[in-house]
């Protein structure tokens, strides 16, 4: 079983590594980090601060966008190009295939996040416990977003999957703002926002720097969350990943490959 899943994951990694857009994104993120360096020079003794802020925002934004891009295309093209015919006719279960595709994407995204983080550290962000925690949180955010994209991709076209995944990502990131906005709204809007927030992963848990959590101001430059918080947020992400992949498998299992 592990061998089959690994075979699919490895092949997915190989497939994704050929997508030129990813190299464009890499250049873009490293470029953004270099820009941060220039901006930091303009604001005296703020190099590291600007580099960290831009670097972390880059990991979160470009990592999530790449996760959506890979998630909506890689599964869909297998069906569209019929490459899946020679695969699922082998002794592999469909859930193994979906999991293998996800792990392959996860591998690509992990490499991307690692490169982004190293670029940030090298350019001036510097490595610290707070930065490591922020990078781990951003990594789990990206992995959760990949699971959202693959879930939609199991039954929809790349365009629609992309729209749905982007919407979920935006709502997930803005959960506290949506909650605050709905507080004084009509009961209908309150109920609708509550239902929406229930079915959307709390992605805001992964973007903590600059926010107030439990009355404490959190910042990657000063007082960062504890490793306990990082562990709990990561577990939250893993829970969503498992649930989304299970749903994706269920939908994928019922599909005819004509």
């Amino acid at each position: 079983m592990i061998g089959r899943i690994w075979a699919i994951a490895l092949n997915t990694f190989r497939e994704a590594a050929r997508i030129r857009v990813l190299y464009g994104i890499l250049v873009l993120v490293v470029g953004a980090n270099l820009l941060a360096l220039v901006l930091g020079e303009m604001v005296a003794s703020q190099n590291a601060r600007v580099a960290r802020d831009v670097g972390l925002a880059g990991i979160s934004l470009f990592g999530s966008l790449t996760a959506i891009f890979l998630g909506v295309f890689l599964l869909y093209t297998e069906v569209q190009r019929r490459t899946i015919h020679a695969i699922v006719s082998k002794p592999i279960e469909r859930w193994e295939f979906v999991l293998g595709k996800y792990l392959g994407m996860g591998l690509v995204l992990t490499v991307l996040v690692a490169v982004f983080a190293l670029a940030m550290i090298a350019i001036g962000g510097g490595a610290s416990s707070a930065v490591t925690k922020a990078v781990v949180l951003a990594w789990f955010e990206v992995l959760t977003v990949a699971a959202i994209a693959i879930f939609f991709s199991s039954f929809s076209t790349p365009f629609m999957s992309g729209i749905f995944a982007l919407a979920m990502w935006a709502i997930g990131r803005l959960t506290p703002d949506v909650e605050a906005a709905a507080r004084d709204a009509s009961p209908w809007i309150k109920a609708a926002s509550r239902v929406t927030l229930e079915i959307v992963p709390d992605l805001h848990l992964f973007a903590v720097s600059g926010r107030t959590i439990d009355g404490e101001h959190v910042s990657v430059h000063a007082d960062m969350v504890s490793w306990g918080y990082v562990g709990m947020a990561s577990l939250h992400g893993v829970g969503w990943i498992v649930a989304l992949l299970a749903l994706a498998t269920l939908l994928f299992h019922r599909r005819d490959f004509v």
Binding site: A86, P91, E93, V258
Partner: protein, 327 residues
């Protein structure tokens, strides 16, 4: 029409056993139903070469994809090597070549076979040895280092055959294996199928090329409009009945052939020849005497027996007839 026989053996005693298999596609919004399979029943004995023949849209590929677990049937039952479909355990013992195969074009044929071997759970050393053997066997030794993207259709078909044989399968299912191959390639595939049968394997393949079916199959099934029209050995299906007598004579251009052509079919008149088919019950001696009297020289007289192609065309026409009569 030869009705399918329902063997007394229980489901599972055959390499493939299909009973009343049905597949209906429903479009979600138009609420339109398309019946791709309308109760297909046949069985394939172990160690046989079984040809599955039908026109485009007959249901051949749908049947094969259903057997391979790519499509969920809406009715009926089927077993592969004794296991009810879809069965992962059965697929471990089956090799499958999809129709017009599409593979990851960034892989080389060796990498494709390695991926197939991994999915079959084969150890690395066995994968390597088996891939090397098969690449040579299907004649892709020279293209070993090329990406599949650079392969021609025929080369992809060969790569597809190799990945289908990676696990040394008990049953080989080939959807249009001759497609895209030149005459030499087709002969090589025919030889490969015969070799597999000689090694005790079962081969189930679909094709449009009837001469291949007639030449190598133990049994044939003809499918049209989602239903089985006939099944049996080629000899059982193609009766030795004479359809007519093909006659070809040399005849000067100025001779009127109206009288000689009376009652005949497929009449072709060239400047110095006349060829036609006389009815099976025609008095050939009398016709030849008349031709001699007219100054003809006989070149050829051949009784024409029914071929698998004739049977195929008849069965397909019969399957289409109810639709046309309704129209």
């Amino acid at each position: 029409m030869t009705r399918p026989r329902y063997p007394a053996a229980a489901l599972g005693d055959f390499a493939i056993d299909v009973r009343d298999l049905r597949k209906t596609y429903r479009t979600p919004f138009a609420r339109k139903k398309v019946e791709a399979l309308r109760g297909v029943t046949f069985s394939v004995e172990r160690g046989h070469i079984f040809g599955f023949v039908g026109p485009n849209g007959a249901g051949k590929t749908t049947t094969i994809r259903t057997l391979m677990g790519l499509i969920r049937p809406t009715g009926g039952a089927a077993t592969i090597l004794g296991e009810a479909i879809p069965s992962r355990r059965a697929r471990a013992k089956v090799g499958f070549l999809p129709e017009s195969p599409y593979f990851y074009d960034y892989l080389t044929v060796g990498e494709l076979l390695d991926l197939a071997g991994r999915l079959f759970g084969m150890p690395a050393a066995v994968r390597k040895r088996r891939a090397d053997e098969l690449i040579e066997r299907v004649g892709l030794g020279r293209a070993r280092s090329q990406n599949l993207k650079k392969f021609s259709k025929g080369m992809l078909q060969r790569a597809g055959l190799a990945q289908a044989l990676m696990n040394d399968p008990e049953l080989v299912v080939l959807d249009e294996p001759m497609s895209g191959l030149d005459p030499i390639g087709r002969k090589e595939v025919r030889d490969l199928i015969l070799e597999l049968r000689d090694r005790g394997k079962t081969v189930f393949f679909s094709t449009h090329i009837l001469s291949d079916v007639e030449a190598i199959t133990d049994r044939v099934a003809i499918v049209a409009r989602g239903q089985l029209q006939a099944t049996g050995t080629p000899a059982e299906l193609v009766k030795r009945t004479t359809l007519g007598i093909d006659v070809r004579v040399r005849l000067p251009a100025e001779i009127d052939t109206t009288a000689l052509s009376e009652g005949a079919s497929r009449v072709i008149r060239s400047p110095d020849e006349l060829s036609l088919m006389l009815p099976a019950d025609a008095d050939v001696d009398a016709w030849l005497s008349r031709a001699h009297a007219a100054g003809a020289k006989v070149l050829e007289v051949t009784p024409r027996h029914e071929t698998l192609e004739d049977l195929f065309l008849r069965q397909v026409a019969a399957a289409d007839a109810p639709k046309e009569s309704r129209a």
